[in-house]
């Protein structure tokens, strides 16, 4: 468990997680091209994790002007405020599969002390706080999810192709 989590109450951890998810949805809305939209996270999803049971919104990405169900591209499901090595987890899911993102903070990411006494973070590439994708199960590089990476993820889990 990270140091930050130890100092927060369960409710505070949940609030922080909800805030981070909402901020991510807002960011996605700004990133999406004109032909796509993300709905307002209205449907409430019940999460049970170490911090307790609570409600949180999930959101879906749709093609504008296309009738249901062909308009569906992908959905973003919050999965929990606690996860191994990170401070929250969510899933991007589409017709082809799903990928999980972890919230990493630069200051609370677990470190490793090597045999020479040198310290390094367990994952490389965590330069700022945010949602990260663990590209390959073999690699120790975490990929910060900005606009381009989100599009890559949408491509991977769905049949949608960006221009």
């Amino acid at each position: 468990m990270t140091e930050t989590i130890e100092h927060l109450t369960n409710e505070e951890i949940q609030e922080r997680y909800v805030k981070r998810i909402k901020a991510f949805f807002t960011q996605i809305e700004e990133w999406l091209p004109d032909e796509l939209e993300i709905n307002d996270p209205v449907s409430n999803r019940t999460i049970t994790d170490t911090t307790g049971t609570y409600q949180i919104g999930m959101a879906s990405i749709y093609k504008k002007g296309v009738p249901e169900p062909d308009n569906y591209v992908a959905a973003i499901f919050p999965m929990g405020a606690t996860t191994l090595l990170g401070e929250g987890i969510l899933e991007i899911s589409g017709a082809l599969g799903e990928e999980k993102l972890i919230y990493f903070c630069r200051d609370t990411l677990p470190q490793v002390e090597d045999k020479l006494g040198k310290f390094r973070p367990i994952y490389r590439g965590v330069d700022s706080d945010g949602w990260y994708w663990l590209e390959s199960s073999m690699s120790n590089r975490a990929i910060f999810v900005a606009r381009e990476q989100l599009f890559d993820l949408i491509r991977m889990v769905s049949f949608y192709e960006f221009d």
């Binding site: 996860t83 191994l84 599969g97 490793v112």
Partner: protein, 183 residues
């Protein structure tokens, strides 16, 4: 060369990635079966005959993630047992010599019954005694063990683990790092 010089986890993760990617490819096939030759479809009679092939693949994907964590843990635990047995080799030099070999044989047998949690404590309080940073890693390994026990015993909702969401690659990264530090 001792068996603990070889890290067995990359092979497990390779098998996992192969299965994961294969399932993704099969999902493409069941989505548009008419685009594929009969010879391909004949290789998957059960799946093609299913009214809900995509759901079956989705369920399998979730299942193999959990199986991967179970397998990863079992392989890590075996490696750690071998490692500790190997470290007990020095018992053989105990004098008088007859006693040394008896002590070693007994120790090796006993290690097979040690609880995983206790073995992790030996690593934490022994090998990593001077590194609070690496001790924290052992704490994360304990979270994986708890999760493993929870999955293996049918996900009892009254005995939920400390962490009930584990990304398989994060479990691999944690256990692999510990092995690398001990080697």
């Amino acid at each position: 060369m001792s068996s603990t010089n070889i890290n067995p986890l990359p092979l497990i993760v390779e098998a996992f990635i192969t299965t994961q990617e294969s399932l993704k490819a099969v999902k493409q096939i069941v989505k548009n079966p008419s685009q594929f030759p009969r010879s391909v479809l004949e290789k998957m009679p059960n799946l093609i005959a299913s009214p809900v092939p995509k759901e079956r693949i989705n369920n399998s994907m979730k299942e193999i993630e959990d199986l991967f964590v179970l397998n990863l843990w079992a392989t890590f635990e075996r490696w750690l047992r071998d490692y500790l047995q190997d470290k007990g080799n020095t018992l053989k030099t105990t004098m008088p010599s007859g006693l040394g070999s008896q002590l070693y044989d007994h120790f090796t047998k006993e290690v097979e019954y040690w609880k995983p949690d206790d073995m992790l404590d030996i690593v934490k309080d022994g090998i990593f005694a001077n590194s609070p940073t690496n001790q924290q890693l052992v704490g994360h390994a304990k979270q994986i063990l708890e999760y493993r026990n929870w999955i293996a015993h049918g996900r009892n909702s009254r005995r939920a683990p400390t962490i009930n969401n584990i990304v398989p690659s994060a479990a691999y990264q944690t256990l692999n790092t510990i092995i690398t530090l001990l080697q």
